[in-house]
Symmetry: C2
């Protein structure tokens, strides 16, 4: 056994989160793609069978009340809240991340007022945020300016209405400084909208503590909600009364069953709802979130950093110098829960890794991306992944 394998064994033995792995359905594949699709929580299949067979099949329409379907978006939002540092009553679940970006950004621009005519968007963002921001700008008569997160401070002016930023860069895994950037945005009088897709469930976010205005995120990565599970929208309590949705569907009405032709928005977070919630996916997500009941996000963050540190060390030991280059920052306060390695022929390399039981993903044009979900990835797997990578790279 190599020194690294021995180290991995020790790290696994002292890992206080190690037993959480049993809450997921896993096999001997080294699954480092939980930042794209989280693994299946073991309690989801039976829960979903109950939702389908009993709640839908037997109670049918009665389940909207009796099984709590109607209130699921805000109830499940309250389950996500502690994971992102939010008090209850500020998050609703529903729709896709893209749709929530649209709601959040249009609402932010409206709150900022007509004198502020520019939106800043993270130029390094996952593309959909940029596309949707372009539409939000077009439809609110604002100008969109893409800037790298490091340039946001210099780009802020008294014309800035809102800034849409990613907490963690989907490609490089770089963690942006949410507290400092939010403070800078506020100092300029603009609103801060954060995309938490690649941070929620992997590290503390502190939405309330840092005064974030609006935030969105998906639930199928580190929250393990299932393929395409509903996204969420956070609206800070103090702003909820001014949240003016571009998608004022009947679910956000103060009296949804009053069937009034006039729209009167509901109070609170549920103003962010739109249409009928997608119950099957939503209740699978609810079961998936129960895994977190006794889990500390601080402990998750500590393990996440230990995993990525160890992976970088193992990769350095297992590969020829210069064969791969890490795009992921060394500094802990700049690192999310993934490692991105630039590598020649990355597409082919990832294919061979997957054939050998190490699943990450490839991001065009030359990036191997490995996500580390602290709830179910162990140090032994990390060592094995690096070792297989070394073999594949020859």
């Amino acid at each position: 056994m190599t020194e690294l394998a021995l180290r991995a064994r020790k790290l696994d033995a002292s890992d206080e989160l190690a037993e959480l792995r049993s809450r997921f359905v896993l096999d001997d594949v080294v699954y480092l793609d939980g930042n794209s699709l989280g693994a299946l929580p073991a309690n989801v299949p039976d829960r979903l069978q109950d939702v389908v067979r009993r709640q839908w099949g037997e109670l049918r329409i009665r389940s909207w009340d009796e099984s709590g379907w109607w209130t699921a978006p805000e109830r499940i939002g309250d389950r996500i809240a502690p994971l992102v540092g939010a008090a209850k009553g500020q998050i609703v679940v529903g729709d896709s991340t893209s749709v929530n970006v649209f709601k959040a950004l249009v609402a932010a621009v409206r709150m900022a007022g007509d004198a502020r005519d520019e939106i800043l968007v993270d130029a390094t963002t996952f593309p959909t945020d940029g596309y949707i921001a372009e539409s939000a700008a077009r439809m609110t008569g604002r100008t969109l300016r893409p800037v790298a997160p490091g340039e946001v401070r210099d780009a802020l002016t008294d014309r800035t209405a809102a800034v849409l930023l990613n907490h963690v860069d989907y490609r490089t895994g770089r963690l942006h400084d949410l507290p400092a950037l939010t403070a800078a945005i506020h100092a300029s009088g603009a609103l801060a909208v954060w995309d938490l897709c690649h941070s929620a469930g992997a590290l503390p976010v502190g939405l309330d503590e840092h005064g974030v205005d609006l935030a969105v995120g998906c639930t199928y990565k580190y929250l393990n909600g299932g393929p395409g599970s509903p996204a969420y929208l956070y609206v800070r309590k103090e702003l909820q009364d001014r949240f003016d949705s571009p998608l004022p569907g009947w679910n956000s009405h103060a009296e949804p069953f009053g069937m009034s032709p006039a729209y009167t928005p509901a109070p609170g977070a549920l103003r962010g709802r739109v249409g009928t919630p997608d119950i099957l996916s939503m209740l699978a997500l609810e079961a998936a979130l129960e895994i977190w009941d006794d889990v500390s996000i601080t402990a998750v963050r500590a393990k996440s950093l230990a995993l990525t540190d160890f992976f970088l060390e193992c990769v350095a030991a297992c590969t020829e110098p210069g064969r791969v280059e890490s795009l992921t920052p060394e500094a802990h306060d700049e690192r999310g829960s993934q490692v991105a390695l630039r590598c020649a022929d990355a597409g082919k390399v990832m294919k061979r890794l997957i054939e050998r039981g190490v699943v990450g993903d490839f991001r065009h044009p030359d990036v191997l991306r490995f996500g580390f979900t602290p709830l179910y990835v162990g140090f032994g797997e990390v060592e094995r992944a690096a070792w297989v990578l070394g073999e594949v790279l020859g």
Copy 2:
């Protein structure tokens, strides 16, 4: 046995669709609320278990390709297509009805051009369509004018950009004349957007035949997709190249995995996609739609009319004259697949009906609503429902 009960027995015996009932999970409740939430198709629970346990649990991320997750929105759209009279390649499934109304109406207004500055909306519509239309008007700088469907012809001018209409009124069950109204809208140079929530799966729609421009609908009523299952968007083939979405998420990009910061819309119907599709709900819907493989929508319509005719006849025979008043048109070509009865104390009456095993729903302020899903409702149940109603009304 009464004469009506005997008639019901004969009608059931000669019902060529009677055996379809075995494709659903039903009990001895008379379920007349399929126009709100369709019953559970018998093949859905096992399918969903396979999706969860094998596709998600074992294949994980590979399922986006290997299990056909990525192409589900257009594949399932093609399954809905024949039910609404559309050739393939014009429907995508995803998002809620409200979100699809927004996409369709904004896109329609953009196609109509800047000189047309007014949107007409069905004043009798399910409220969400009106709320969303108001937002679409506000965000495209148009004026919204609510008009009753019967007044649309007179309201059309050369300023009309688009008209949003319901095919069947959710409250009264009135079927509007889609061919004639669409022709009138086209004659004025405007675009016709139809909401098919209460018609798709209950009667022939003929989208292609009648030249409808855009249409939306839910899938959890007569299509039995499950609570809050994803809605769909139809964009007529000739208009797809001009479909300019207000929600241009990455799933509608010509190269979604190219990760380009510049948005280039995909060709065809998938331009109507937005974010990551909600796979669990979507594949439950796909299973539910397989029920229709050998079912003729013409036969469904014939049975639907026979059911509502018979219900009206039974209600007349079982209740005191004047105790209830039908809001549903007598004429077949003006009737959807539901019967709405105005009734004093309708809320209490519906509660007592439900206690006695007859499930319809109550619509504020005074409407008893009964939906007739021809795939699983029989004539004996219709007779029983009317008989129980007579008893409840005393």
